[in-house]
Symmetry: C2
Subunit: 218 residues, 2 copies
DNA sequence: AGGAGTTTGTGAACGTGGGAACAAACCGAG
DNA sequence: CTCGGTTTGTTCCCACGTTCACAAACTCCT
């Protein structure tokens, strides 16, 4: 968050920009599938659903990868964004809590195609052990430490009930995981240096409900 | 977005605050379960994982519901937030695309307990029709218009593949849905007056990957 | 009743993000 | 080579969001 060490090429990309880079990458992939080689900031911005000035400013944090009067080379820009995000490599991920949601996540093919692969599915309920989901074995939660150590896992996904989420997060952090994606509807506390992102269906619906109510009041 | 009509009590709550109100509500529910009657902004803020000054400012947009020197009455504040968000009433919701994710969503009990209930599950694949998920029948996508009209549905959830998402959204909007929650990894375009929120697992993971990569560079 | 202690509600300072607008840079035609 | 047309990269400014800090308001004890 603060002082950059000796500042090699270490650019500091705003958080809001980081959150949009994956959207640009996806839009570029779609363009590439349609065999489009070059695009203007206007083209890409409308494909990504943002303002073109914002798009250009976002890209300018990565470097100067466009050509004035021409636009951006789709493949080249695609690679640059992928490299900046860090998805030119493949990240191993563990999923904990293989219930309704955990099954859906394990079956999700979009994982692998976007730079991630599931190395383990863990659950505390022994009745679930031994099952295979999308070709991956469901194993005891207590195998966590061994798997993380062996496979060098840095990213963990929590899909357990809310009551278990903090305990699961603590165990993850203790064995070296430094990024957590939490689907349980609860706030989890982690030490500095660990990133947590949450996905909360109910919150999204409640935000929609708020605006819906406002619309109805007119 | 602009001029408030005649401004009765029409407060204008900042978007960032709206997004946090559901988190406060959840924290208050947890406190109420523990039979805590009163809490300070500090207590509630730490339960919600935010700064206490931010919490107080957020709550001040709703009105002045605390007592100086004392704090907030848990039940009273809970009701006020629920009313402001609009979850004192029950919102009917349709889910389109009953595959892996759609099944998980349909089975999700957190829906009903938070002010929403699933009135219909729709899928274009006729092999899925007739199945019951969590007690609700899976019906043809073409039933959308009839269901929305009959039940007065305002909120739709899209859990189809990306390729179908825009078409589904168009159909939803055409028959009167004005709030959409989109799980498909694609940008969907809607007319003014319709709200869209997206939930995108891959984007969340890519944001984590970015920060993970930065950590590794030190 | 008064004073000490507590906690809210908010004004003001600060930081981050968004968008218009434009100079700089490039292409292609003549 | 020059000129007109195009599109990027960036500057400047405004709006929004966050945090500090403190007066106002309340409770409780003496
Ligand atoms: N199903 C959905 O669509 C949905 C949507 C939004 C949020 N969520 C949230 O996601 C989480 C999972 O939802 P679900 O519907 O899959 O629930 P579920 O009950 O079907 O699955 C939870 C799984 O976690 C396992 N588990 C429990 N405690 C554990 C522990 N300490 N360690 C390891 N595993 C443990 C259980 O054995 C079970 O298999 C919940 O917090 C839920 O609120 C679910
Ligand atoms: N599974 C996950 O955990 C996960 C995670 C993140 C995002 N997603 C996204 O959510 C969406 C659904 O994922 P999934 O794994 O459930 O896929 P899925 O293929 O299992 O299910 C998709 C369902 O949508 C139906 N469908 C297709 N076209 C339709 C149309 N025009 N109208 C109505 N229904 C239609 C299909 O018949 C199928 O039942 C995808 O866009 C996926 O990228 C899934």
């Amino acid at each position: 968050m603060t002082a950059r060490s000796t500042s090699e090429t270490a650019r500091d990309i705003p958080e809001a920009t980081v959150a949009r880079l994956p959207v640009y990458l996806r839009a570029l992939n779609t363009l590439a599938d349609d065999e489009i080689r070059t695009c203007s900031s206007e083209d890409l911005a409308s494909a990504a659903g943002v303002n073109s000035a914002k798009l250009r400013k976002d890209l300018s944090y990565l470097g100067s990868y466009g050509t004035r009067g021409v636009g951006y080379d789709v493949d080249y820009l695609r690679y640059q964004i992928a490299r900046e995000i860090g998805v030119t490599q493949d990240w191993p991920v563990v999923i904990v809590g293989i219930g309704n949601l955990g099954h859906a996540l394990a079956n999700y093919s979009g994982f692998r195609s976007r730079g991630f692969h599931v190395v383990a599915l863990l659950d505390a309920d022994e009745r679930r052990h031994g099952e295979h989901v999308a070709g991956v074995l469901v194993r005891p939660f207590d195998d966590l430490e061994a798997i993380v150590a062996e496979q060098g896992v840095a990213i963990g996904v929590i899909a357990t009930p809310a009551a278990a989420a903090q305990d699961v997060a603590d165990r993850m952090v203790a064995c070296g995981i430094t990024s957590v994606l939490n689907f349980a509807p609860t706030v989890i506390a982690v030490p500095d240096g660990v990133d947590v992102r949450k996905v909360d269906l109910s919150i999204e619906l409640q935000i929609l409900a708020y605006h819906e109510q406002r619309k109805a009041q007119l």
